[in-house]
């Protein structure tokens, strides 16, 4: 079946991914790569020639970095092109010059020339690799011309190393080639290149010179040239496919092929991934790198797996980790579930003899692959580069575990010796087998194998004639012993494996439980600080790392929580955190950007964007996170990000509620003003117009009454406006009390004159010998006036209003008591709110609703308080002022 057959008409529409890819290019700079097969083919020269042409077209071209290596013709080409000076970076006593990324970003040319894409930047640069600099240039909309030798392409790295026997360390991921808008192959026949080499026209760095003899041979060059040509052709092909996808042209490109590469901790994993990537390219397949977790990997092995999976992700694959009993089983299950068509796996390294008994993963997969194609790649590091050669690290062998299995074996032996009295020798072996299995369950594989050895020896010593020697007399007993060892060995192996899986399952369950508890905890947290602290603690606790959490605050990132507690970050860390926040990508330790920072910073995001940055570090060197931990962190961060967003939303709702209350207050103010301003105005206007209209018909008395109304109501209006102004002063915080020493009696006298009570009598009871008080006389008089006014409003005519003052410890307490109905309990505090009035059920003239609020505001401004209560001796309200003594 061909690919085209799989097509149905409804699939003939632009694929969303392709359109996205096209859209993603908008706003980005364009990347052109000058690809060469080997050094010396003239990439830089060609790049400069084309750049000059663009410059003649009026394009703003600058040189970011161009290595001419002193060659005259290349040098000449750089003349007339602006060069951004390199940045000098001190490093270990030397000064290294690197491309000045920030200067270029600031200069913002249309096109920048960046030579040698695969270059490694000096330590301390923002990015460790130059291609990452180029990425940043592109994403800020600047076009880039760059040069690259085919040997530096990640997926070709192995092949080139095989051909030339030289492995280069500096590589660029294939993805950057895929994303390039243009790749131009700078081609030169091997003969011409060799001639140039002879003429000294090819620059070779010191180290390479020695290798040059082996490197620059016609065979190698022809092979490299073919590679470069093929890579370019493949790229052109890919471009065409992209175009066809974006424009819904049916073609034989349906991604019906799916490729799966099994990754484990073996050193060949990287090579297998590179192979898978090349194969996937050729097949136009989507591909996944899968690691099957059988629960037996050591920490170092897990790190290597994580590294391999990250490599896969870098090369455009999808990485996954799946638990299963065996690698083959896991791979096949995943493959079947995901319609995989090709499986790439590594050949086993065990001997053929061993494989006969226990088939390698590859064999197992081949046997059960069914219709899937299986590609077996050799398990080899392929070159000298992978220096961190797999040092077999086993889980630490605990002496106690061996001691334990020794005890089990001894117990088994004891029981066996007892049973020997009544049983056949062959049955005794079963008792010893139990001891071995018990060791496997309790302590794992090695202790149980140890128990197996002990038991075999004991069996021989105690039960097989001749007794109490390690010799065996009868041949059949040799068989018995061998069978025993075999059975015990297999059984321990199986049991230990089951135990290991149980442990893994338990760990997973514990992690899940932790996550669940964490999410429950988050949902109960009401303040941001608690939430951040809980998160910092949880992450630190689960991942055994130091954690800081940063939140954006007014254009800046602020450390809001840390475990162990941390308040500030060094400059380098802060820069990395900022970069992570702005770009939404990880930065800092172990990342591609600013790896010099002490911590690794990761964005925490929700659908609405990045809400926080989490920073991690540990005291140990090496990778901070295994891929497992990374996933755990991801889910913790997701939960936290959501919780932060939830709190933000709650805050917004609070703000909305406050706004609504402000609105309510405003409408209360309007009602109050409308009533309190209009009523006196209505009386004034009505009286005045009556006087004007009907003066002739009105008696002297009537006229006098109308004039009296006008005066009274004008005064009422004046009081209300004064109240409003006082309130405004209080609200705006412009109130500065003018404190002076005053005699309480003085103020009381003047306020009583001003209040001119007509319908109530006043009872004064001021304790003799009260000290002078430090108060603002004007404000204090207003307080007293408002309280007395309030009493007059609510107490029926003819009752007594009492004013009392007593010295109470360090304060003077003054009370205003009335004989009115008293305060409803629920109103005790609210009466001090602005515009709040006790609902007047009788025909009381309602006040402005400001008097008591002003009294409280003034008292607080003067350092005193005012409270309200009901009288205990009779009905009526009592307002108590506490006045601080100087």
């Amino acid at each position: 079946m061909t690919d085209t057959d799989r097509f149905t008409s409804e699939e003939r529409r632009p694929s969303p991914e392709a359109l996205l890819k096209e859209a993603g290019q908008a706003g980005r700079g364009r990347l052109k790569i000058f690809l060469g097969a080997a050094p010396g083919v003239g990439k830089t020269y060609e790049m400069l020639v084309q750049a000059r042409r663009r410059k003649l077209d009026g394009v703003d071209v600058v040189i970011g970095v161009v290595e001419t290596h002193g060659r005259v013709e290349t040098d000449l080409l750089t003349k007339g092109l602006e060069t951004v000076p390199k940045k000098r970076m001190p490093y270990k006593g030397r000064v290294l010059a690197e491309m000045d990324l920030d200067a270029i970003l600031q200069r913002r040319p249309r096109l920048v020339l960046v030579d040698e894409l695969a270059h490694d930047n000096a330590p301390g640069s923002r990015h460790p690799k130059r291609y990452l600099d180029v990425e940043e240039l592109l994403s800020s909309g600047i076009d880039v011309y760059t040069t690259l030798n085919v040997q530096h392409v990640e997926s070709l790295n192995d092949v080139v190393a095989q051909i030339t026997k030289v492995r280069v360390r500096e590589t660029v991921p294939d993805s950057i080639l895929d994303r390039a808008d243009d790749i131009e192959l700078v081609d030169l026949t091997p003969e011409d290149l060799l001639q140039r080499l002879k003429d000294g026209k090819v620059y070779l760095p010191g180290a390479a010179e020695r290798a040059a003899q082996n490197y620059f041979v016609p065979g190698n060059l022809a092979a490299l040239r073919e590679l470069a040509l093929r890579r370019t052709a493949q790229r052109v092909d890919a471009q065409m496919v992209d175009y066809m996808r974006a424009h819904a042209i049916a073609g034989p490109w349906e991604a019906s092929e799916r490729l799966l590469v099994a990754v484990n901790a073996r050193p060949g994993a990287a090579a297998a991934i590179r192979y898978a990537r090349r194969l996937a390219d050729r097949l136009r397949a989507s591909w996944t790198a899968i690691h099957i977790e059988t629960g037996t990997a050591s920490e170092a092995e897990r790190d290597r797996v994580a590294q391999a999976l990250r490599l896969a992700e870098r090369m455009g694959g999808v990485a996954a980790t799946v638990p299963a009993a065996s690698e083959a089983e896991g791979v096949l299950q995943f493959a079947r579930a995901n319609n995989v068509t090709h499986i790439v796996t590594m050949a086993g390294r065990g001997s053929r003899w061993l494989e006969f008994f226990r088939p390698s993963t590859a064999q197992e997969i081949i046997r059960q692959a069914g219709e899937m194609s299986v590609h077996v790649v050799p398990d080899r590091a392929g070159g000298k580069e992978i220096a961190d050669k797999a040092v077999p690290v086993r889980s630490p062998l605990e002496p106690r575990a061996f001691l334990g299995s020794l005890v089990f074996s001894a117990a088994g032996l004891g029981v066996a010796l007892l049973l020997r009295q009544t049983m056949a020798v062959s049955n005794v072996a079963l008792v010893l087998l139990v001891a071995v299995l018990a060791s496997a369950v309790a302590f794992g594989l090695w202790p149980s194998l140890f128990a197996c050895l002990i038991c075999a020896l004991a069996y021989n010593f105690f039960f097989l004639p001749p007794l109490y020697t390690f010799t065996i007399a009868e041949p059949e007993n040799v068989v018995t012993l061998l069978v025993f060892v075999l059975v015990a060995g297999i059984a321990s192996n199986l049991t230990a494996r089951v135990r290991m899986q149980a442990i893994v399952a338990r760990q997973r369950a514990a992690t899940t439980e932790d996550l669940y508890r964490f999410s429950r905890k988050l949902s109960g947290i009401a303040t941001l600080d608690d939430l951040l602290w809980a998160t910092a603690y949880q992450v630190a606790h689960m991942l055994h790392l130091h954690v800081v959490l940063l939140l954006p605050e007014q254009e800046n990132l602020q450390v809001r929580a840390g475990y162990p507690p941390e308040d500030t970050l060094e400059e380098g860390d802060l820069a990395a955190a900022k970069w992570a926040f702005e770009h939404g990508q990880e930065a800092g330790r172990g990342a591609d950007t600013l790896p010099g920072a002490k911590r690794l910073f990761l964005p925490m995001r929700t659908a609405r964007g990045i809400v926080a940055i989490i920073g991690l570090d540990s005291q140990q060197d090496g990778a901070l996170l295994t891929s497992d931990q990374r996933r755990l962190l991801d889910s913790l961060s997701d939960q936290t990000a959501l919780a932060i967003e939830r709190l933000h939303l709650a805050e917004e709702m609070d703000r909305a509620r406050v706004a609504a209350e402000t609105d309510k207050l405003r409408s209360a103010l309007l009602t109050s003003i409308s009533h309190d301003l209009r009523t006196p105005l209505a009386s004034i206007l009505g009286s005045a117009s009556s006087l004007k209209q009907y003066r002739s018909q009105l008696s002297e008395t009537d006229q006098g009454e109308l004039l009296g109304t006008i005066q009274d109501e004008a005064e009422r209006l004046n009081r209300f406006i004064a109240n409003l102004l006082d309130m405004t002063r209080l609200e705006s915080g412009a109130l500065a009390p003018n404190l002076e020493l005053i005699e309480l009696g003085d103020v009381v006298g003047s306020v009583l004159r001003r209040a001119s009570l007509q319908n109530h009598s006043v009872q004064l009871d001021l304790e003799p010998g009260l000290p002078m008080l430090r108060l603002d006389p004007v404000l204090f008089e207003q307080v007293l006036f408002n309280l007395i006014d309030n009493a007059v409003k609510y107490a029926p005519p003819g009752t007594v209003i009492a004013l009392r003052a007593r010295r109470e410890g360090k304060v003077v307490e003054m009370s205003i008591l009335d004989e009115g109905p008293g305060l409803p309990d629920e109103d005790r505090e609210r009466i001090f709110d602005k515009f709040y009035r006790v609902r007047a059920g009788d025909r009381q003239r309602a006040g402005t609703g400001l008097g008591l609020a002003i009294a409280r505001g003034f008292m607080e401004a003067m350092g005193g308080t005012v409270t309200a209560a009901n009288r205990s001796d009779r009905s009526g309200a009592v307002f108590t002022l506490t006045l601080p003594m100087p």
């Binding site: 009533h675 009386s683 117009s689 009537d702 109501e713 009788d842 025909r843």
Partner: protein
């Protein structure tokens, strides 16, 4: 002739005071009440010719007083005192059966005019004159001839019904709801009414942009200029 009796219901003594003085000067006999309960109590025993009622009373509010009075079968004209911005309260009171309203603060002439209109309306209902005249407008209610500025005006039946309604309540404010109910049986909306008012104004007013006959009471309804 016995003086007409007016009951003032307001909780603000200064307002009662000047109303009493001003109305007494026009030979009305003035009674006072400080809240709704007292007013209802007073009215049970003492019939009055007109009630001036504040909407914002403590305890039982003005609306409730109107409702109880009308529910009790009283037809005594009621003039509402209300704040200028309380359109809803005005409309509710008018719909409950109040006759007119004055917004605080107000001049005493305005109130006197409303009082006169309300009292006259009560008298008119008892014996309507066959010819209505107000400014440039005269309407022969028997022969159904409408004359504006000495020229006969042709009205559609619906327009005439509308004008007839205004005439029978001349000088009084009519709420949108009331007009719609009376002329259209409540089956229409305010927009419809506005269109009719506009055509009526175009046919009757000297300057339809500045109407002098059919006046708009913003947010409440319309008022036809009182008869001369």
């Amino acid at each position: 002739m016995t003086p007409l009796r007016i009951l003032i219901v307001d909780d603000e003594p200064p307002i009662r005071r000047f109303l009493r003085t001003a109305l007494a000067a026009q030979d009305y006999r003035v009674e006072e009440a400080g809240d709704g309960e007292a007013a209802l109590e007073f009215l049970k025993r003492n019939p009055v010719d007109l009630i001036i009622l504040d909407l914002g009373l403590p305890g039982m509010d003005g609306l409730e007083v109107v409702r109880q009075l009308r529910a009790g079968g009283s037809a005594t004209p009621i003039i509402i005192l209300s704040s200028r911005d309380d359109e809803a309260g005005k409309v509710a009171a008018l719909d409950l059966g109040a006759d007119d309203y004055v917004s605080k603060p107000f001049g005493v002439e305005e109130l006197s005019a409303r009082v006169r209109a309300a009292l006259r309306h009560r008298l008119q209902q008892e014996g309507e004159k066959p010819l209505f005249k107000s400014g440039d407008l005269s309407v022969d209610l028997v022969r159904r001839i409408v004359t504006a500025r000495e020229q006969e005006v042709k009205l559609t039946p619906r327009e005439y019904d509308l004008l007839r309604l205004f005439i029978s309540h001349a000088g009084k404010v009519l709420t949108h709801n009331f007009i719609l109910k009376e002329v259209w049986g409540g089956q229409s909306d305010v927009q419809y009414l506005r269109i009719y008012i506009r055509t009526l104004r175009q046919k009757l007013e000297a300057d339809p942009q500045q109407p002098r006959l059919i006046l708009t009471e913003q947010g409440v309804g319309y008022r036809l200029r009182a008869a001369d």
